[in-house]
């Protein structure tokens, strides 16, 4: 493919992308590869692996603040604050090239076939405008670029092409987790992760440092700044970091003309484009559309349905810790998923709730992890007295738990409800004075009942493996990793914001290509599906480029 000349600043381009995370990166690589001129505006910067705390002895201390996934805790200048006063769950994200995958665990769990047809199969929410089978070829292509490690043949999924790299070791902790599942006759499978076991597409092989969720200092966790952006930029895409978009502008015909942004010197700039794609996540994308009010779009851009910001899904999360007599060396990585289970993924109405959840087993972490998980002190019990966590009990607890524990996480399908939503906060702003988002989110009864059921089953599993201690944490606040559904896709413009190609019903040259468009959330970590849907949509945009209406 001939290299497109890199656009100069301010020059009108074929495509402007807002957000350089996984979906924005997929779009940038695909569109620049097709010869389109592309500029991407990213509010954060390109992460420097030497900044990641990794093997620093202070890594656990830093994970509780500087590298915490909650932007309100991290409170860095490039983070925007999120008002969570009326939300049961705190959203987690990272502003930078590669987006929130900078801090993710790399669980690679594509949506399952039933996830796309929940209305047809379970009479709830909506079917997607396409099926698992429609996505599969794109998924297999994305997995090659991402460098997924895993073992083919998982009976939880239909047959598919194998993964580019072999599975990572599951370690003693993974084997212990598998023991319990084996005794109960339940499904388990060695974890599939976006962490290659061999050098792949610019990634180094995983060396099991175990610090995936504070950024991989080895460059061995698949993030788009490594796997997608270098090629996109070689193809001519221009990536502008430190650029915070304030508004998408439109012309008299209601077509997008580009965006106004604040550069990292605080100057207001304008980037013109024939097509605008927003990939700013399930909170950032509706925030930007709601900020982009005009005479023609008084309720926010592309919001004639009134659904921009609504139907927020965040995957309420519970976890079960199992502690074992045997040494599990459970500070050793990967801090992706050691093993996974889909035993209770599909609907069984006898359980009293609809849909289900995926389980992922992870190591326990370092000594501070005796009471914490992913930077938050969630395993300390309710209102503990000083002597419960300190004094002789501290030594006893660390001796018992450290190196002997594993944590099962439960990702349960969160069904869409219009009352769960993103709005603009009337007072709080980011460092550029742009209105911050406010979340209104309540965990549904269905999610509550689902998590209770799954916790009970997981207790059986960890006890079957011989746990000497178990700890449960229900609906952890700092677990809103998955920001989904706030600009839903569908065929009916009155009931959706975009069509299956991510194209806004109201603004034909505005596209949304992130998880904000997902009609439902699945019960799995969504990055695989986010990147896959973005590839399918970007490829369609290229195929239809000659028919594309533009300002």
């Amino acid at each position: 493919m001939a290299k497109q000349a890199t656009p100069r600043r301010g020059e009108e381009v074929d495509v402007l992308i807002v957000g350089a995370g996984p979906s924005g990166a997929v779009a940038a690589k695909e569109l620049s590869g097709a010869g389109l001129s592309v500029v991407c505006l990213e509010q954060g910067y390109n992460p420097d692996p030497s900044d990641f705390p990794g093997k620093d002895p202070a890594f656990e201390l830093l994970s509780q603040k500087n590298w915490h996934p909650n932007p309100n805790v991290r409170d860095m200048p490039r983070d925007y604050p999120v008002n969570t006063d009326e939300s049961d769950i705190n959203p987690l994200m990272f502003a930078g090239v590669g987006g929130s995958t900078t801090l993710y665990a790399g669980h690679w769990t594509p949506f399952l076939p039933s996830d796309f047809q929940v209305r047809s199969m379970d009479g709830v929410a909506e079917d997607w405008p396409f099926t698992y089978e429609d996505l599969l070829p794109y998924l297999e292509e994305v997995e090659q670029a991402v460098g997924v490690s895993g073992l083919p043949g998982n009976p939880a999924y239909p047959p598919q092409r194998g993964y580019p790299t072999p599975p990572l070791p599951i370690g003693k902790a993974g084997m212990k987790a598998a023991e319990g599942m084996d005794k109960l006759g339940w499904h388990w499978w060695p974890g599939t992760n976006a962490i290659p076991s061999l050098a792949w597409n610019g990634l180094n092989p995983c060396v099991r440092t175990g610090t995936c969720m504070t950024g991989c200092p080895e460059g061995a966790k698949s993030t788009a700044n490594i796997t997608y952006w270098p090629q996109a930029m070689r193809q001519g895409a221009r990536l502008v970091t430190g650029a915070r978009v304030r508004e998408i502008e439109v012309d008299d015909r209601g077509l997008a003309t580009g965006a106004v942004y604040i550069d990292d010197h605080g100057r207001e700039r304008r980037q013109k484009a024939k097509v605008v794609i927003v990939c700013a996540n399930g909170i950032g994308t509706p925030r930007l559309l709601l900020l982009s009010k005009s005479k023609r779009f008084p309720d926010g851009l592309a919001n004639s349905s009134g659904l921009v910001g609504k139907r927020l899904m965040m995957h309420p999360f519970s976890a079960v810790m199992g502690v074992y007599e045997d040494p599990l060396d459970s500070w050793i990585g990967p801090f992706g998923q050691l093993i996974e289970s889909f035993e209770f993924y599909e609907t069984d109405e006898k359980r009293g709730f609809l849909r289900g959840a995926k389980w992922g087993a992870m190591p326990g972490g370092g000594p501070l992890g005796a009471t914490s998980f992913v930077g938050s002190q969630i395993f300390k019990g309710d209102e503990p007295a000083v002597e419960d966590l300190w004094c002789e009990n501290l030594h006893e607890m660390v001796e018992r738990r450290f190196g002997h524990s594993l944590v099962w996480g439960i990702i349960g399908e969160d069904l869409p409800e219009e009352d769960n939503r993103v709005e603009l906060d009337p007072e709080v702003t980011d460092t550029d004075g742009i209105a911050a988002p406010k979340l209104i989110y309540k965990v549904s009864q269905n999610s509550h009942d689902m998590l209770r059921f799954h916790v009970a089953r997981l207790l059986e599993a960890v006890e079957a493996a011989g746990a000497i201690e178990t700890n449960i944490v229900h609906q952890v606040p700092d677990t809103g990793w998955h920001l989904i559904g706030t600009c839903t896709m569908g065929d009916d413009p009155k009931r959706s914001v975009v069509n299956q190609w991510g194209q806004a019903h109201d603004v034909p040259n505005l596209y949304l290509m992130d998880a904000s468009t997902f009609p439902t959330s699945g019960g799995v970590n969504p990055t695989a599906t986010i990147m896959t849907v973005a590839l399918r949509q970007a490829r369609h945009l290229v195929a239809e480029r000659r028919n594309q209406e533009a300002a």
């Binding site: 093997k55 239909p158 072999p166 070791p169």
Partner: protein, 142 residues
Amino acid sequence: MSLVNDTQRKTFAGIADVLIPEAEGMPSASQAEVHGAILDRVVELRPDLREAFFRGLNKAAGQDPQTATEALNADDTEALGAIGLLASAAYYMQPQVRALIGYPGQENRPVDADSEPEYVANGMLQVVIDRGPIYRPTPKDA
């Protein structure tokens, strides 16, 4: 120049020893020298904790450590939380403490991707495979 003066350092050592005493074969916090150079490092790394940390130390200055700890627990849990977190972080960063609990730190362990996993060799995974697919078939006319 250190952010922590001698009085604060001494007060910190006393409270840290209440929280992390010599017991269960482990040294106390001060025996592990958490009030030494490593205290400056952890205070430097977590500026967000400083206000509560120093507030707690200044309130506790000159008091019996046990009494001061109980008072902070009753009246200023944020301050005690900051002191406790920095004390425990410093403690478990010390090489002699890590050696005692068998923690080498987060280190590299290269993977032999070609080796046969134990769960394959011992037949555990074959049992899962033999049970067959568990995903729900979807309607083909959707």
